[in-house]
């Protein structure tokens, strides 16, 4: 539990302000911690007197940590296509592996039958090598055509047990966030969700996993000092892939999955692809979003037009979704999707915290809103205070004129 040094505490209250859970209070000039303390450490970080600490029982690291070596990337492959995040992770994995002087391997699971025309899984494996993998463990089986938490998890866990990588990375996609927690539990390994920054600590090679918590309002850096592998899911669109290099050499290791690994207690009966503009939201470079200020469903025709002009995807705030102007898959924010595009254009969105947490990692944020006091302007890179119904059509016209000339 949290230790408070009564001698050192001056009752300044910095800890109180830093606590997300309202678990620490100053009473009679002294910090007092309540039962709802989660030991997150935010108060320890802000205390200028060094009066707060969380005694760790780290103990000796188990001796066999050094027998785990190499960085692995789970290369997501679905409907005959590699997920872009697989290549991003290889870029990040390569950087970490070079610091540790170890190999980078990718694990590729699927059925080559789905993309036989494009060379099947073999072609995907070569693509992974061209983007930085030294080795690709490839399981090509018709039983892996559909994603299954059981089968995919069994195989990945078996391979990790057998080859003992020190780090395993996967995309924080629907698939990664579904089956990787099972794999980590099977392996009794630490797992950090949705990381946006990765590094290794020089002295002991610990993976430093940084992720937003509380909807992006605080950042936390997490380590797994006692267990291997160190596992993390990583947010798409954050890490940079290496440039494709055909001359890179790598080995493809074919895995024959045992029948028991392929057995699944769940079965996909039907797989439905949504319209393209819905599905690309998390991967889009440009996102155009609309909110309450659009007033009705017709307002979104204008948003779609701007998105199409820029080659981007369409998004919405919860207010617009709840009003029935646009379906839920477009919703960005706390109870919708989290996006981190190059450009996010917020039209008629006031910028409630629940919306901001879903998009504030965008590189450039453009806000168009009638109310100069709208909180969206606090996070905006560029802002126009004005009527969306006037500004957006003019912007579309300007952009079209510019692309024509």
């Amino acid at each position: 539990m949290l230790k408070i040094d009564a001698e050192a505490c001056i009752g300044c209250g910095l800890c109180e302000d830093a606590c997300t859970f309202a678990a620490i209070r100053v009473e009679d000039g002294l910090a007092v911690v309540g039962d709802n303390c989660t030991l997150c450490g935010a108060c320890v970080e802000v205390c200028e007197e060094g009066a707060l600490s969380i005694p760790r029982q780290e103990g000796e690291a188990p001796a066999d940590l050094s027998s785990w070596s190499g960085v692995w990337v789970y290369a997501e492959y679905r409907r005959g296509r590699l997920a872009p995040v697989a290549l991003e992770l290889l870029g990040a994995g390569r950087r970490l592996a070079d610091k540790r002087s170890v190999e980078v391997a990718a694990v590729l699971l699927g059925s080559g039958l789905q993309a036989a025309d494009e060379g099947g899984l073999e072609a995907a494996a070569r693509e992974l090598i061209a983007h930085g993998a030294d080795r690709v463990y490839l399981a090509d089986d018709s039983g892996l055509a559909d994603f299954s938490d059981d089968a995919y998890g069994n195989i990945l866990a078996e391979l990790v047990r057998q080859y003992r990588p020190e780090i395993v990375l996967a995309g924080a996609t629907a698939i990664g966030r579904s089956f990787i927690p099972r794999v980590a539990t099977m392996l009794a390994a630490g797992l950090t969700a949705d990381c946006t920054e990765l590094d290794v600590r020089a002295e002991d090679g610990a993976l430093l996993q940084t992720r937003p918590a509380f909807g992006g309002n605080i950042m936390a850096t997490i380590v797994c000092p006692r267990t291997r592998p160190q596992m993390a899911t990583v947010r798409p669109m954050v890490m940079k892939p290496l440039a494709r290099d055909e001359s890179r050499k790598g080995e493809i290791v074919r895995i024959e999955p045992a029948a028991a690994w392929l057995s699944s207690r769940t079965k996909v009966l039907e797989s439905v692809t949504a319209a393209l503009d819905q599905v690309n939201l998390a991967e889009a470079d440009i996102v155009v979003a609309g909110g309450r200020g659009l007033e009705n469903a017709e307002g979104f025709a204008m948003i779609r037009q701007l998105a199409d002009t820029l080659g981007g995807a369409m998004a919405a705030s919860r207010a617009a979704v709840d009003s029935g102007w646009i379906p839920y898959p477009h919703q960005v924010g706390q109870t919708g999707k989290t996006v981190a595009p190059k450009v996010y254009i917020a039209c008629g969105i006031s910028g409630a915290i629940q919306h901001l947490v879903g998009m504030q990692s965008a590189e450039t944020i453009i806000a168009i809103n009638r109310d100069p006091e709208a909180p969206i302007f606090n996070v905006a890179t560029y802002g126009i205070v004005g009527d969306v119904f006037e500004v957006v059509p003019k912007l579309i016209e300007q952009l079209q004129r510019r692309s024509d000339s």
């Binding site: 303390c37 030991l39 994603f147 099972r182 539990t185 630490g190 950090t192 997490i222 439905v272 949504a274």
Partner: protein, 259 residues
């Protein structure tokens, strides 16, 4: 059918504001609420129990004040409530949390179906559902947006994927995590409120659930937080000036440079 719903008490994001000067959180007066996704898990459990026959038990790991969300869940239709609470659980990561919840579920006699929200809004990990399923030896489906049927020990559900959705068959006993699309949660009924007021909430300690001391709380957590900090404030901000046409022209110019 015995249905267990896992719920978590979390700080209400509605009360959380960014201080525009410092770009940090203003946390005064933050209220605790039931995790919004768990509300949908509860509703689905109550609906299924009504349709299939069965009981709904709500389960929470947390400090004594987490009783509040359990009572609220009972007011919204749950039959029983169990709180697993012990100072030894503090600082648990998802690995330690799933051990605790799995032991608690075993202690109360197991379950045919466990329902969780997709994720909690404070940690946003979405790891407890799948991890708990594995601890229990259950198959699972995450991000379920619709339950189509439940017959002969098999559930058919639709689960959200990044590119659409999959319709899946899942054998019971199983665990599902749900998204808010799945239903519209009901409000507490008057009868439910009366029941919640009177209900004795069963409280279980680490010893009661026979928890492995090496797998609970901070010491039993493989992941450890080494640093917590505020995200970097965003850089320069430009609010364009001039007529609408001039502003739009400036914006179009900037956009063209970025893209």
């Amino acid at each position: 059918m015995k249905i267990v719903i896992c719920i978590k008490q979390v700080p209400d994001a509605k009360d959380v504001r960014l201080d525009p000067q410092t770009n940090t959180l203003a946390r005064e007066g933050v209220q605790s609420i039931m995790n919004p996704y768990d509300r949908h898990a509860l509703e689905e459990g109550v609906r299924l129990a009504g349709e299939q026959g069965g009981t709904v038990t709500v389960l929470s790991m947390g400090p004594p004040q987490a009783q509040e969300v359990l009572r609220e869940a009972v007011a919204c239709g749950a039959d029983e409530a169990v709180l697993v609470s012990d100072r030894a659980f503090a600082g648990a990561d998802t690995w330690a949390t799933t051990h605790t919840l799995a032991q608690a579920i075993r202690t109360i006699g197991g379950a045919d179906l466990v329902l969780c929200g997709k994720q909690a809004i404070d940690g946003d990990t979405a790891q407890v559902g799948p991890g708990l399923a594995e601890r229990l030896g259950f198959p699972y489906a995450t991000c379920v947006k619709k339950v189509l049927s439940c017959t002969d020990g098999v559930m058919q559900v639709q689960r959200l994927m990044d590119d659409g959705y999959d319709t899946m068959a899942v054998q019971l006993p199983a665990l599902l995590t749900v998204v808010k699309e799945i239903n519209e949660p009901r409000l507490p009924s008057l009868k439910g409120k009366m029941k919640a007021k009177k209900l004795a909430i069963k409280t279980l300690s680490a010893a009661d659930i026979d928890a492995d001391p090496a797998q609970i709380g901070l010491p039993g957590s493989p992941t450890q937080v080494v640093r917590v900090f505020s995200p970097q404030a965003r850089g320069e901000r430009t609010i364009f000036q001039g007529s609408v046409d001039e502003q739009v022209a400036q914006l179009a110019r900037e956009l063209q440079q970025i893209i």
